[in-house]
Subunit: 396 residues, 2 copies
Amino acid sequence: MEPCTVAGIRIGVARAGIKYPDRRDLVVIEAATGTRAAAVFTQNAFCAAPVIVARAHLAAASPRYLVINTGNANAGTGAPGLAAAEATCRVLAEQTGCRPEEVLPFSTGVIGEPLPVERLVAGLPAALAALQPEGWTEAAHGIMTTDTRPKWASQRLSLSGQEVAVTGIAKGAGMICPNMATMLAFVATDAAVDLTLLQKILADAVTDSFNAITVDGDTSTNDALVLLATGQSGAHISAEGEDYTRFAQAIREVCIELAQAIIRDGEGATKFITVQVEGGRDVAECRQVAYTIAHSPLVKTAFFASDLNWGRILAAVGRAGLVDLDLERVTIHLDEVCIVRAGGRAPNYTEAQGQPVMTRPDITIRVELGRGTATARIWTTDFSFDYVRINAEYRT
Amino acid sequence: MEPCTVAGIRIGVARAGIKYPDRRDLVVIEAATGTRAAAVFTQNAFCAAPVIVARAHLAAASPRYLVINTGNANAGTGAPGLAAAEATCRVLAEQTGCRPEEVLPFSTGVIGEPLPVERLVAGLPAALAALQPEGWTEAAHGIMTTDTRPKWASQRLSLSGQEVAVTGIAKGAGMICPNMATMLAFVATDAAVDLTLLQKILADAVTDSFNAITVDGDTSTNDALVLLATGQSGAHISAEGEDYTRFAQAIREVCIELAQAIIRDGEGATKFITVQVEGGRDVAECRQVAYTIAHSPLVKTAFFASDLNWGRILAAVGRAGLVDLDLERVTIHLDEVCIVRAGGRAPNYTEAQGQPVMTRPDITIRVELGRGTATARIWTTDFSFDYVRINAEYRT
């Protein structure tokens, strides 16, 4: 199945030779006049130059063009990096007849190297010449770095008689612990949505999707997620009602599908692990426990080995920093098997029950804290030889 | 050089076959009557049964015997685990004529398996028969699990004409991110120190030693550090003066030496990395930045590869959560080479300068935050194929 086109969106991809020759590394997304854009960006204090420029441009105007390069993150590049991001916008604006503020730049790749802005802008005419509504899969390839698979998700829904499309692409496989958004993701719809409402819908969707995944706990300097609403379908979304609910759900599902695709393609990942924490006093403490488990190198290597060394999960729960945690009320399941009850090995648990679960490619760790009604769910990967290999070899 | 004996301390080691046959896995430390003991324990909520029992016994009496087993952590073992730890103390008390509260139990090894208490107590007579003042190196071997080297440190100092010895042993190589103490460490001196003062000296020493190391961010369920002061040397330590300063410094140095030995023996470690953070508003934020760098899998794998991918260090500083961090004031050095200035690549930095530093076995990352006068220093390791191998294979 191909992703749905989105009325008002055209995409062009080019090979600008930014880091490697003959690799798709430059993507331009064109949005029709009148498009509204909501966005979330990394909360890393060292945010990259394009993030700074994109934030400023978004505050000044509605975007007409998004320009994305791989091969260089333009991060940690100081004033020259900012100038390079601004020059990219200026050149694209000249070539398309819009204002520089109507262009948002995005970069991903190695941190700390100067952006080869001449090569980038030299590639723009080819990207513009390639603009077409069907460019989504090509763009999903064009934004890949250490990704092994292109990532896209798409839904079509009917709202009060109008057909609406929601399509998105994402990239990311390492340096993944988004704090507002993942490395890069772009979602578009042809519904018409007011800006305030669009930002709310995006923020709600992000909490349960891109802000619920981690590969390695390393929040990137370049995380960005943009949601474009062109309004070209004729469907207008109001702040309440069934259409709102179904539309927001579609955005949420596309975001979850993209976020999960990033985890399934996590660097060196051999397993897709859902960490579900229930019975907490609030969502924050549930997420705290879930991330402590998901970031534990000992838990991650045990899953890589398919070894149910459940004491490591228990130890992670114990060091998550919850005040007054009553161990007697803690229960841990691995899929359908109860492994920990009352803070110790479940009375009926045997290794023969647990071992088969560990060999599954998709596994859910479910922790019941027994002190409230809040829950949280995040997704993560195991920790393999390949994770070390990929990150020891990257750059060289 | 051999560790100094400590007047009033005798140590016996036995092979109890707790997990493996014919391996030194049981250590008894005997302290003379009148010994004062200070201790710090894990802050993991799931602390192991022996930690619970040791805490209670320490509150009730001054210890005469410490009994340590490897091969089984007696953690996550519920009520039977507590009973096993108490039985161990009771049997040792019967055999030595002391009270059970005068015995402190310690365990390390796999979590969640029942402690084979019959085999443990069956080994006690052999350990008691072996008691001798020279038992320190034997004990350093006897408490090893995934450690590849025994770890001990020793100093002798003269205080107001009295010769005083300080000797300690430690174990630990993985699940190392102590929060009060490391896996297991035992330090003894023959100075006489009041209990309150002894606890203060220990707490001060721990902050800069065992609480300043991390291999993998996983705080163990069994961390414990005990400092015994037998008073047999005749030297009495008061709460101030030059003797106090020199004695506290000796304790601190022995603790740092043991803590560093744990990092040098970190699972799969190929490099010893010092993370020094300066110019912070307070020590807490300096430690926060240091641990964010030290726990980053991307930083750790880059060091394993000897690849100065310094953007990963910068990204870790950026996501450490410091409020109002002014990037323009941030400087990062790798040993003597300045790699980041004003939040970007240092103007004069070249890869040719940085690369030779990365091949050194001991490397210091120095981050200057430029917003205060506080500093913090921690030690960590890189992240190698062998870390994954050791932790994927452990238990099986």
